[in-house]
Subunit: 352 residues, 2 copies
């Protein structure tokens, strides 16, 4: 409760329907982002692939199943403990492909530069992108650069769009989630958001928190190789764990019941969150995934995840229920139960 | 000459090698853009597809030839005579696919919104995108929205990335250009740039100049259907006709000789250019293409182009020569010859 109340101070107010301008919260990945999607984008662009509301669209092209995903990166600051806008722009898009079970192949990279940006900054970011792409085994094959006047941008924005290949028969979607399924989480939460915030606000913690930014597609390959039926996956970025799970619960029309004790939060992150009045459930991650899997073989998937360096601390954090369809609830460490809502405003703007 | 001198007043100065910050000219599509590409992007992202330097990359995926292209749109103002940032974002990317001979299929759309943008503006832009996509027969299948603080953006930036399919055996590339080939242009030049500039500066001409923004892929299909060998195509956007032709001349190591009298410039555009000290050869187009084609069947291609509504005023504007490899020259209306250089700085920033 305290967390939730304190959180309100950091959030934008929930808008009334009369609001008619863009708020920072429209970029949060929470309720306001959802409103924009449902009021503006879905009615206009109305098509089956988009309406799936996955992090990527999977399309049939010439007999192949091609996945495509796009993300713009406006993170501030450009460089932060554990990464920078360049590595993030590669990891974020690789992960959105991976969450659809796609093998990531190619990226495009488009830059919007602000007049006056030191070219050395661009060079560092581009080198970091290339290192991240090489490590992930993807190629950056096409690009674009635009420049805007000083004061009309903020240093450097990057868009990456990714193309991947989905193997026949694989269908990862919230629609596949069934009551009884288990919820797995690949590690501790909140590190990316806290690393950014600490850097931005000049906060110092006893031990520095680094962003968890990482490419998750090899972890996903290991999970798919476990032989278990994986229903769907999400990387809980903007809006954090709570928003990703709320989206799944709403789309699958099921309840999700979490066990707070199983959700790992590193001590430094916990401390920073308490100090700042943030709830780790709403803080962004960039190298974690959640998976909803069939109950019978959930332990197999968990074992496979723990064999991968990025999944060593994987946990089963909850299960899917027929009760309270569309809602996420959490059994707290004190044994009580509380609702875990979607993020309403924007807890931390420009986190990615 | 007068044009060229007057132009200098509108251009950024050509930078010395000690310059170490981003200038508006780095987004011009001219010399400075080329420097950024060759100094920063190509060495880092070093791969065969990118090094082709086409407007799109064509990749082999699972036995299919998939083309991918990306463009960010930062045009100012958002709405202008003949179009808006939304229609432009669809046409620009469809055209980059079409220039590679790809049949455009799917687009992604990513928005960077500035806090305070009226939602009604976003709605108008999105509706315009959808109308343009529908007219072009492409689907917008995935998207992203980010929001930046007031003063850190400029209303609305859009990235579109496009996916298309290239038929087997088709290879459109500057490398295929041969001495003797003919240069075709699909209509009059300079309308997009002048429409934007007139709107931006509040200029009024006797008859309004509208942007020529349009999707060119059906025109391209008609040209490919003519049976002639088309070597390569470009849409002369940023940097205008001169930059597109200079790129081809440099890459193919050939000379290109233009005939000024064959290059159509509408009277209103000519008048505006004279008044503003601009050279139409450097002004952006968004609904025109140039094609280099084998000499023997050039007339067939021209006839096919003229049958299409967007190619009615197509002309043969020059030919490819062994002389002066890497250079574009023009026989003027007065019978003299002049070099047509690449755009050095930025004639009109934020034109697309």
């Amino acid at each position: 409760m305290e967390d939730t109340k304190a959180l309100a101070a950091f959030s934008c107010p929930v808008p009334t329907p009369t609001r008619d301008t863009i708020l920072l919260g429209h970029g949060s990945g929470g309720t306001l982002s959802g409103q924009l999607l449902h009021d503006i984008f879905l009615p206009a662009f109305n098509n089956a692939a988009l309406s799936e509301l996955n992090d990527q669209a999977t399309l049939e092209i010439n007999g192949s199943r091609i996945a495509i995903t796009t993300d713009s990166f406006v993170v501030k600051p450009l460089f932060f403990p554990g990464g920078d806008i360049g590595s993030l722009a590669v990891h974020g898009t690789v992960n959105d492909l991976a969450m659809g079970g796609a093998h990531p192949l190619f990226l495009s990279a488009a830059f919007i530069l602000e007049e006056g940006l030191p070219i050395e900054v661009l060079r560092r970011v581009v080198d970091s992108m290339q290192r991240a792409a090489e490590a992930a085994g993807v190629q950056i094959v096409t690009g674009d650069t635009k420049v805007v006047e000083k004061g009309k941008g903020d240093g450097l924005f990057i868009n990456t769009t990714g193309i991947g290949l989905v193997r026949d028969g694989l269908d990862l979607s919230a629609d596949c989630v069934r009551p009884g399924d288990k919820v797995l989480l690949s590690g501790s939460i909140g590190e990316h958001g806290i690393a950014i915030l600490a850097q931005r606000e000049g906060l110092e913690f006893e031990s520095a928190v680094e962003s968890d930014t990482a490419a998750l597609h090899t972890l996903v390959a290991k999970m798919l190789g476990s032989g278990a039926r994986i229903r769907c996956m999400r990387d809980p970025t903007r809006g954090g764990l709570s928003s990703a799970l709320n989206e799944i619960a709403a789309k699958a029309r099921v309840g999700i019941e979490l066990d707070e004790r199983a959700i790992a939060v590193r001590e430094e992150v916990k401390g920073a969150c308490e100090m700042l009045g943030l709830d780790p459930l709403y803080v962004a991650n960039e190298g974690k995934l959640i998976a909803i899997v069939e109950a019978e073989k959930a332990e197999n998937v968990l074992a496979a995840m723990r064999e991968h360096p990025l999944g060593r601390h994987s946990q089963m954090i909850g299960s899917v229920s027929e009760k309270h369809p569309g809602l996420v609830t959490m059994k707290t460490a004190f044994g009580t139960s509380r609702a875990v809502d979607m993020l309403a405003g924007d807890q931390l703007p420009r986190i990615c």
